[in-house]
Amino acid sequence: MRPAPEKLFDEHHRAVFGFIYRLTRREDLAEDLTQESFLAYMRSPERFDHRRGSVKTYLFAIARNLVLKQYRDHRAEAPLEEDRLQEADRNFDTALSIAVELAIAALPHLQQEALILFTYEGFTLEEIASVTGSEVGTVKSRLHRARENLKRSLAPYKPVGEPHV
């Protein structure tokens, strides 16, 4: 049974918006692509096949495809790193947040999406595999490489003392 669009939107729009925002780092784009993701589902709900995954992973797969299309069509429109670094200089409170944002943005795209889905959206490896159309082992490997890369690139921000996670 397919869920009603209103219910689906209520339950998932924040997560889909967050996912797209973290991939594109632009609020206006995240807003547009979140709307497009739900619109795509509402136009052709019959395309969703519950045997291939949950409606959540189906929505995230739509969002992912829209982001990839955006990358292909408008590659130059991502926020400039210099602008973000200047913002970090102006505001010490957001400096660490921006440093993490830039370090993740520097990762290869497939590593980025695996890390964002796992770390920020709480997806399992199986769910990430369903969203990205990959094998679970491949996702695991991408996630591992992403974390190893970040351990190196974020080393200058190593917290002093034991962090409270």
């Binding site: 669009p5 939107f9 967050g18 770390t119 974390r147 970040l150 190593k158 962090p163």
Partner: protein, 107 residues
Amino acid sequence: MFENDELTDRELDYLLKQWHAPGAPEGLGRFLLGPPKPWYSRLWTASIRIPLPVAAVMLLLLGFLVVQLRRAELPPAAIENAPLGFKELHPVAEFKPRIIRGASADN
């Protein structure tokens, strides 16, 4: 303040949590779903899912209650004088007609 060694998993998790994404804008769904409706308008379209066995039991109980209530409402005489069916009707064994004269017939 910071050291330049590679991070541990715990330290990396801590740093990753420092990146806060903005929340989704409030009016995001307006374009897709239209303006928000008052809560009471949902009363006309809301639905609940009931398992079939539960629904069947509830229907049976409802039917039983209706019959009981109707019986309680009828006076005992009404039950006794309830209309007869064809099964209760028998052919007359001996036909004895009685002529009842009205008061005006005596005149």
